[in-house]
Symmetry: C2
Subunit: 199 residues, 2 copies
């Protein structure tokens, strides 16, 4: 912290009380993978599925955050780092409030993902294991083609690197599994890991 | 937005469904006022009171945010502006998820508060109407005294300005009302304005 002229008052509502009331703990499902791997589609599908199962759940993705919290940032290395750092802090605060947060971000760098892991309690990394050539067939906006033609700079998977996660909690085979199967697999994962009223 | 190489996927869980399930809408109670006016004490007291009344509620203050989301910022005019902007975006996202957000920030500038009002749906400004001489008697850390002695720069109310809100939704007489009375007044306000399952 840059200054000491702030004071702290602790929360009077504990995590245990929040979890007991809602029947699950808060935490973060962090989706990482190449553009057009299916992260957003599965994020919002999973949000709906978990909501219907009674979870306090909220999904957000890079587009949403770049339109608000990170509207001052671009796609340079430094700006990407800061984008992920802020998104991670947002996810951490929401998880602290008891919500199951689903965050869909390309987040290509291991160091940046490590920052989020450190900031957020109960962090679960979900790696969308889909190679660039498959993503390109799903990219209905033609971004891969434009990037290959040199018309889109800093496009992850073509003109910018993606570092495969070293130790994700979940590696999702989103090549061979369909959307519904991916959602079902992750919903079952959340039921196993988040259904606890004990901090 | 600085780039167009992002795509949007809409939420599949609507606000109406969230509000119907929890029995209230999301929104922001933005506490503004001088240092040591009592914002944090009442924020966390109100959070507890509303939680016990069944609300999805979460409070945060500047100290928390400056330790995480805004850890790169200081107290210059530009940094204060950016601190409030990011806090407002955080509040806006949480309110969008259906939570009653209580945000306690000195937020001395009308222009900065206007930015938050614009970012957040269902924004309610609560002005802690406590003059500096009363705040100073509540300041158990002696910050007012240090600021008067010139040892604390950019301290709002002494060495930095505070612009009184032009049109707050609530003006709280936190001079003559005790903590419990302030909490009760604001809880009644939230019951009136947030108990709706219709967007």
């Amino acid at each position: 912290m840059k200054s000491s002229n702030v004071t702290r008052v602790p929360h009077l509502v504990g995590e245990a009380e929040r979890w007991a009331r809602q029947g699950h703990r808060g935490g973060v499902l962090w989706f990482t993978g190449l553009p057009a791997a299916g992260k957003k589609t599965i994020a919002y599908g999973l949000e709906k599925r978990l909501f219907e199962s009674g979870f306090d759940v909220f999904a957000f993705d890079s587009a949403r955050i770049r339109a608000g919290l990170c509207s001052d940032l671009g796609f340079s290395r430094n700006d990407r780092r800061e984008n992920i750092r802020r998104a991670g802090e947002l996810a951490a605060v929401m998880a602290r409030s008891g919500v199951v947060v689903i965050a869909a971000f390309i987040s290509p760098f291991e160091a940046d993902r490590a920052t989020v892991r450190k900031a957020a309690a109960n962090y679960h990394e979900v790696y969308f294991d889909v190679p660039a050539n498959v993503c390109e067939t799903r990219d209905d906006q033609g971004r891969y083609a434009r990037a290959r033609a040199g018309a889109l700079a800093d496009f992850t998977g073509v003109s910018a690197p993606y570092e495969r996660p070293e130790a994700p909690e979940v590696t999702l085979d989103a090549v061979n599994l369909g959307v519904e199967q991916c959602v079902a697999q992750l919903a079952a994962y959340v039921e196993r890991h988040f259904r606890s009223s004990e901090p």
